[in-house]
Symmetry: C2
């Protein structure tokens, strides 16, 4: 059965990217996490092997790099440019690592960004690809939020950008890209379904990958079926009109809710004194900056807490709302952030929550100034 | 929901073993494989760390030890004594490894045996426990076939043996035991459900385990629910009489089929000239020995094949029956085996298959003698 679903994934990629895909390069996984784990395990030999990751990042990356005893090579997203990626920063990050004797093996691109929500353009991706080609590094493209875009931008996969750039890039840049059933509009995270597509992978590494995946046995079949349904959804030809309309309506409702809340978050957070938030272009989060006063930071230090952690703990205690301190995702030295998700499935509740965060923050800002 | 199922697993262990279990020591996993992978990853630092594994063994163990760059420390099961385990052999295996500078960290016990099918007695387990206690090694108990016992022996978990041995063993021998939804009478291998229970695990290692498991996110929930149903099956109190009776009847039918075929395999294989097979006491396989003539072995060598592989390939080509050469599982130097499963769900088909193996083997035996 896995084989049928691999074929469905192949068609999905071909249609999405206008490329020719090979089902033998597609692996069905227990969520995207499993695929990423496999790849990092394969890419990291020891602490001399570096993996470039965006900062802020999804903490699974730092955790796995630590687990496999590799070295994180951070490249910073530019908050002042909507969490944009800069070629200059990639070069700086790479040079700093190689100066220390690190062998930069791979670079992670998260698009749309997690937790930052930015959507990369094809031009951005072209620069990443040229960089990967120049440095001969393996690209890991985390594209699990590809359907979660709320602005007037189209998702472009690294695979598509590669294909349209053509030779020599499309023939030599090694790429693994990941997708998941846990995000998008279905959000079936508990089913643990996902896939990984490999492109230009070295034959020997590919053989090792197969062996390693075979030892772990297949991913769970319900997750596999979920992936099949995600990449090959009901159409007017395959289901009754009634079912098709219901499916369309439900998807649209879920998408509209996500989009509404993404806008609401940007708007509400930016109206709070001391808080600024880039437009949430995609994914399921915002990563606003909060400018905490020095006296608040000093107090936090006395309590042995980072200022953002103190802020988040107090919000939790005072309002019952759980937001996550920025330190876990990485942030530029001396700046403080938090991550908030847009998954509260009610406009009223989300509005209330944002208002409470606003009230509490105003209180802090008036006490510590 | 995971928490509820961890509680069901806790009750299951308490009832099965007459012990007190702690739900915080129970991890739900994507099949037993995932738990075993986690533990071996945790236990192996480098090639100086040795893991004792039975020979013959389930090849996942050797593959994972290789993957994590540890060293296999084989202990041989005694084919002449029904694939029994001997304390003397454990000591020999341990001494040989430590003489080479290997730090023996852990020992794997597979009970009922895979692929050998033997069922260990509580006395056998007591000796294993004393050995683990003396050498201060971590026990990994692969008990996924605990419901697959076809002779007049009762399954005894390592956890139960430990508890009944009492102090000091029960307070200091570190143990991880594994169970799975993939075997037993349900055989839902595609759902990838399993659990692992830790006992006496070092606090620091336990904390690392939690962290590592958290990065991998939860196991798939359908597999979790399956595990819940396995450890807390329908009873007369929870379902209607009709459903309960149907459940009982179906379980009994599956069990009787497995038991019938286990006996059939032992009987039929032992009737083939040149083949001997220990009684299949449990699990889902037999691991018979085949005495291939020197001239056949020489021919195999000329063809660049191990004799057991040649034999299995020829059976496949001639009869369409796939059996697995013993070399993948490990066997004493100069002996040849194959593994056959008892999962063909038809008495007639199984009988036919065994007869064909018999005919083909007689042919080989008459040609090469």
């Amino acid at each position: 059965m896995g084989r049928c679903i691999m074929r469905e994934v192949k068609s999905f990629i071909e249609k999405r990217d206008g490329v020719e895909a090979d089902e033998n390069n597609i692996f069905l996984t227990n969520g995207a996490t499993e695929g990423i784990t496999f790849m990092l395990n394969l890419l990291i030999k020891d602490e001399n092997d570096g993996i470039m990751i965006p900062i802020p990042q999804y903490p699974m990356y730092s955790a796995l790099i630590t687990k496999f005893e590799g070295t994180q090579v951070p490249y910073y997203l530019d908050e002042s440019k909507g969490w944009g990626m800069s070629y200059k920063e990639l070069e700086r990050s790479y040079a700093e690592a190689t100066d220390k004797g690190i062998n930069v093996r791979s670079m992670v691109v998260i698009n749309p960004g997690n937790p930052t929500g930015q959507v990369l353009t094809q031009e951005d991706l072209n620069r990443v690809i040229q960089f990967a080609h120049d440095k001969q590094i393996f690209l890991l493209a985390d594209e699990v939020y590809q359907r979660n875009i709320y602005v007037d931008k189209e998702f472009c996969s690294v695979r598509k950008a590669l294909s349209e750039l053509g030779s020599p890039y499309n023939d030599d840049v090694e790429l693994a890209s990941f997708h998941s059933l846990s995000k998008g509009l279905h959000g079936e995270c508990g089913l643990r379904g996902g896939f990984m597509e490999l492109h230009n992978m070295n034959d020997f590494a590919n053989a090792m990958m197969y062996k390693s995946k075979a030892v772990a046995l297949c991913s769970n079949i319900i997750g596999q079926i979920g992936v099949g349904l995600m990449v090959n959804p009901p159409t007017e030809d395959t289901v009754s009109k009634e079912v098709f309309d219901l499916y369309q309506t439900q998807e649209q409702e879920i998408f509209n809710g996500l989009k509404y809340r993404a806008n609401l978050i940007t708007e509400k957070l930016n109206s709070i004194e001391g808080v600024t938030c880039n437009e949430v272009e995609g994914a399921m989060y915002a990563f606003p900056q909060i400018r905490l006063h020095q006296s608040y930071c000093d107090l936090a230090q006395q309590e042995g807490l980072s200022p953002d952690l103190k802020y988040c703990l107090e919000i939790l205690a005072k309002t019952g709302i759980m937001i996550v301190p920025g330190s876990g995702f990485g942030q530029e030295e001396g700046t403080y952030h938090f991550r908030i998700t847009n998954l509260v499935n009610s406009k009223t509740e989300m509005t209330k929550a944002l208002d409470r965060i606003g009230e509490f923050t105003s209180e802090i800002m008036s006490v510590y100034k």
